[in-house]
């Protein structure tokens, strides 16, 4: 199973696809071809099977016309126009080959080579160099100028960036890197310095790459046709011999990649041009940070121990599974059927998630299943299901390219969803307007060629007040789309909402003292969003991770419905999902109250369908959510937990409570790549497999199901789905699948929105956006087109209920938490890569005035204390945060960011309120008590691992 391509098979048609309406017919070397109007001659020729020599042109970038290799002759036109920059016209007769063209191209190539090192045999891109290819293609046989002339051969190599080198001596000034940085990535880190022959590519103000604005997205490296910009992995290992298309395992963008291999060694990850989510672009994580997959810290043998105070013992899979099964069964017989449960992972495949929830429901016989999406996007599920009828984003990513106003709420796409962030920036550079609602000045607020029209810099915790004020302006100024509301929404519910929102308590003027946002700015933003043809909303965890997260999601949906911004390209309500498979893990029935496809357990017909297929009786009542499990564990009622690929001891709020809960359990089974923080509290460790080691699918933020393909054998011998099935079997409910495709077949059989999905269809289409069924055989890019999934759209009233977590004399600052570009979630993966060079520790951002009154200096240790706990970080004094607000990330376990966050959570879903914690900050000189305890515990558990009793080595047969 899986598509295998030869390396180099990714054809480059030279210039981007043009979606022209009418077709133009021309002849290329006598062969007729019809292409859309606006297509370049180069692309038309390539489609006709003729590859015109080129160096500065690539399908990923706009044509540039600088290399002059692609010159052609056109009947009736003078000269030798460049085929990349010349558009086709009706009846045009193009000659791509003639003696004069051959001579011209050879002469141009001769000029290139007169200033290029002749070290092809020892060059890292030998075999993958367009300059080399073109020299061959044009038949260059001599360089009459000699090699003694002026040249750049003595330029030094910049090796400062972690993942690639820049060798200016090999640069041919095609500008592809500069253009990739501008057009694809939107960072504008590269430029050309000087002019003429002295032109040179430089980063920022002629800085070393690691000191420049470069974000290591790798677009320039991919674009480079020579060895000038080369991956260090290629320099070290040489060229790959094959490539497999797969899907990135980092964020919810779900970029498609070609995993380029030598044997079972991953040499390079290259963004796939045919990728429907990323169109050939990538970020530093997916492109380069894959070293963790084969890191020495990987644990590849199952381990067990009696108590968490014991040394680990390596055992066989059989022993580990039987140990785990008997412990869980013993707990059930002592404490009852519902005393155990399990957690699915948003990092695992859909198939793995499905199998885990099936295992819990069928083998454990209860609904104590939850997913890490609980702590990120559960309010999205609740809010969008309530208002629109489906727990998912409404659009494709590409839709943003037709938005006229983009509203970004509580999201930092250039850091957390970089590839989509770049697409959004491209649209903004084309002139779309931008509203940013965020307590911090994120990159989008003000970066090269992008500036927010309105930045509503609200006080943390006042989202709902802001969204209500926006709704109030729309209603009171008559900016609503009456026809849309009339036709598409429940009119009674709308009327209730309208009366609610029109109340004076929701006016921007009344709410200004609450939100801290000037009323005039709110009014301007509301007009901006409501008065353009297409207004699109994108939001992230800054919306959901609040005590009113679900209210806010509904408020967003209300705003979109009231302005008619749903059901077509360029509009919509779009959650930006944190992890690679948040959408999928939710789709797969990971919640304690829902079966796959968001169907409530109480629905008899659905339940019966599953009972028949699985041959078991299902519990009809909801089980525990993650926080409920912890509370019950502390109370001694919940004793056993199976955790697949989640590190709640680091990622979940109120760490000390989580630690107490984990310590109180009798059987904690952790399945992971590494001995993570949670595993330090485990009794059974089942080694996991990386995304490179298994087949499956991930579903991204646009409901896109994309294939994950195995490129190497699981290091531990089994993929997660196989282990889960074996554990289920050991617990008395046999599960067996030969291949994940069979699991997908079962998902399709049992889930109406997935009924058309199969691996065959995925291979054919590349990816599929659900719903995919008899109504939409190739999937559904856009939702709610003619009617909402729930029929009529539902306006839910959204009263603003302030959080209990308020600043006071004792805790005068509000802490909010977030992400940075180079690290991912708890950092388990990215901390085990060179990304550490970008972000080696979590820091506390604090406003200069808050720092000054506390005597906190930049870079000094600062204590942060909340009612939940206390930790110590270094201070980063910055105006990115407003006065009264501090900010940090949680990528490093020893930072203890979640020691400080509280058990407050969303009223509807219990999604934790990571974004608002009242704290005090003060200069300190020592780590906090928790940190000292952490390091002691860490050292102790490290010893338990280091001293683990090794299994006898398996002798390999010769």
């Amino acid at each position: 199973m899986g598509n295998w391509y030869r390396v180099g098979a990714e054809q480059d048609l030279g210039t981007p696809l043009v979606a022209g309406e009418s077709l133009i017919t021309l002849s290329v070397d006598g062969m007729e071809i019809s292409v859309p109007e606006g297509t370049s001659i180069m692309r038309a020729a390539a489609l006709a099977g003729t590859n015109i020599p080129k160096l500065c042109a690539t399908e990923d970038l706009e044509p540039f016309g600088s290399c002059r290799l692609c010159l052609v002759q056109i009947e009736g036109r003078p000269g030798y126009p460049a085929s990349c920059t010349t558009e086709v016209s009706e009846g045009m007769a193009v000659r791509t080959q003639s003696p004069r063209l051959a001579e011209l191209r050879r002469n141009v190539m001769e000029l290139y080579i007169s200033d290029h090192p002749l070290d092809c045999l020892t060059c890292p891109t030998n075999g993958d160099c367009e300059l080399q290819d073109m020299a061959g293609a044009v038949g260059l046989r001599e360089v009459r100028y000699g090699y003694e002339g002026k040249n750049h051969l003595d330029k030094t190599k910049d090796e400062s960036a972690p993942y690639f080198t820049f060798d200016a001596s090999k640069c041919i000034l095609c500008s592809r890197c500069v253009r990739a940085c501008e057009e694809q990535q939107g960072t504008f880190a590269l430029t050309i310095d000087n002019r003429g022959f002295d032109s040179q590519i430089v980063a920022s103000q002629n800085d070393a790459f690691d000191q420049s604005e470069c974000v290591s997205c790798g677009a320039c490296v991919k674009a480079c046709p020579t060895a000038t910009l080369t991956e260090k992995s290629i320099i070290a290992l040489g060229q790959p011999d094959r490539a497999t298309v797969t899907t990135c395992a980092y964020c919810g963008v779900g970029c498609s990649f070609r995993a380029e291999m030598q044997g079972d060694q991953l040499v390079r990850m290259t963004p796939n041009r045919d990728g429907h989510a990323n169109h050939g672009h990538a970020c530093v994580k997916g492109r380069f940070a894959f070293g963790y997959a084969t890191h020495d810290d990987r644990i590849t043998a199952p381990m067990i121990r009696d108590s968490i105070n014991d040394v680990w013992q390596e055992v066989s899979w059989e022993q580990a599974l039987s140990f785990a099964a008997s412990r869980m069964q013993a707990i059930q017989s002592t404490y009852g059927r519902k005393s155990i449960g399990g957690i699915t992972s948003s990092r695992c495949t859909n198939e793995e998630v499905f199998v885990v929830q099936k295992f819990i429901r069928a083998a454990m016989g209860n609904n104590n299943v939850d997913t890490c999406a609980r702590v990120c996007h559960s309010p999205t599920g609740y809010g969008l299901k309530t208002t629109l009828g489906e727990s998912a984003g409404t659009q494709t990513f590409d839709s943003v390219m037709q938005a006229d106003t983009i509203m970004v709420i509580g999201a930092n796409p250039t850091a957390a969803h970089p590839v989509f962030g770049s697409m959004m920036k491209r649209r903004l550079r084309q002139g779309a307007k931008l509203i940013v609602i965020d307590p911090r000045a994120t990159d989008l607020v003000d970066s090269p060629h992008v500036r927010a029209d309105q930045h509503l810099q609200l006080r943390p915790g006042t989202n709902v007040a802001v969204i209500n004020a926006l709704g109030h302006v729309i209603i009171s100024e008559g900016l609503e789309d009456k026809a849309f509301i009339q036709q598409r929404c429940e009119v009674d519910a709308y009327e209730i909402w309208r009366q609610f929102i029109a109340r004076e308590e929701n006016s921007p003027e009344t709410l200004e003292p609450v939100t801290g946002v000037p009323a005039a700015q709110i009014r301007a933003a509301a007009r901006n969003y409501a008065s353009v043809p297409n207004g699109a909303i994108y939001y992230g965890l800054g919306v959901t991770e609040h005590s009113q997260g679900s209210t806010m999601v509904m408020g967003i949906a209300n705003l979109a419905m009231a302005t008619g911004n749903l059901g077509r390209e360029g509009v919509g309500v779009n959650p930006l999902r944190g992890q690679n498979n948040v959408q999928g893990s939710c789709d797969m029935g990971s919640f304690p109250h829902e079966l796959p496809g968001y169907r409530h357990l109480s629905d008899l017909a659905t339940r019966t369908q599953f009972e028949k297929a699985w041959g078991v009786k299902l519990d009809a009542e909801p089980g525990y959510r993650i926080p409920n499990m912890f509370d019950a564990a502390v109370d001694g009622e919940f004793k056993g937990l199976y955790i697949q690929g989640e590190d709640m001891a680091q990622s979940d709020p109120d760490t000390q409570h989580v630690q107490a809960a984990l310590s109180a359990m009798e059987c904690v089974i952790v399945q992971d790549l590494f001995l993570n923080e949670t595993a330090k509290y485990a009794h059974v460790f089942l080694p996991g497999s990386s995304f490179l080691e298994k087949d499956g699918t991930f579903t991204n933020a646009e409901r896109r199901i994309s294939p994950v393909r195995k490129v190497m054998q699981p290091l531990a011998g089994m993929a997660e789905w196989e282990v889960t099935c074996a554990l289920s079997t050991a617990m008395g409910y046999p599960m067996s699948y030969q291949h994940p495709s069979e699991i997908m077949d079962e998902i399709a059989q049992l889930t109406p929105t997935f009924s058309g999905v199969s691996y065959e269809l995925l291979d054919e289409l590349g990816s599929i956006q659900w719903p995919c069924n008899e109504h939409a055989p190739n999937g559904t890019p856009m939702m709610h087109v003619d009617e909402f999934v729930r029929g009529k759209g539902f306006f839910a009233p959204t009263p603003y209920v302030p959080t209990d977590e308020r600043s006071n004399n004792k805790y005068p600052l509000l802490l909010t938490t977030g992400r940075i570009l180079s690290q991912y979630n708890v950092g388990a993966q990215t901390r085990r890569t060179e990304n550490m060079a970008f972000h080696a520790e979590d820091v506390l951002e604090i406003h200069p005035s808050d720092a000054e009154v506390r005597g906190i200096t930049d870079g000094a240790w600062v204590g942060i204390k909340s009612r939940a706990g206390e930790t110590v970080l270094r201070a980063d004094i910055t105006t990115r945060v407003q006065a009264g607000v501090v900010y940090t990330t949680f990528h490093h376990p020893e930072s203890g960011a979640n020691v400080v966050t509280t058990d407050n959570s969303d009223w509807a879903t219990n999604c934790p309120e990571y974004k608002v914690t009242a704290v005090q900050a003060y200069p300190v000189s020592n780590p906090s008590e928790w940190q000292e305890m952490f390091s002691k515990f860490h050292a102790e558990q490290g010893n338990f691992l280091d001293q683990r009793k090794r299994k006898k080595p398996v002798t390999t047969q010769s």
């Binding site: 519902k338 409530h600 009542e621 909801p622 525990y624 019950a632 959204t798 209920v801 509807a908 879903t909």
Partner: protein, 76 residues
């Protein structure tokens, strides 16, 4: 009071506050009851019901009304 009950009460009151966009206690109580029934583990509901039997007066009126509804059909 156990960790659970303490938190359950806080969560239930939080739900109540967020449902209270109207003064009509009946409407609000119905919404609360429906929410609790759909999303809470029966053990959590049992704790809440038990608490309500003993100290209904310490719950907000809409919540108390909602918990009472949970004793009846269609919830029970």
């Amino acid at each position: 009071m156990t960790v659970q009950t303490d938190k359950l009460l806080r969560m239930a009151e939080q739900i109540t506050a967020n449902m209270a966009y109207t003064d009509d206690t009946e409407v609000v109580a119905e919404k609360i009851a429906d929410h609790l029934y759909r999303f809470w583990d029966p053990r959590m509901l049992a704790s809440l019901k038990a608490y309500n039997k003993e100290q209904a007066e310490s719950l907000s009126p809409a919540l108390a009304a909602a918990v009472q509804r949970l004793e009846r059909a269609p919830y029970s």
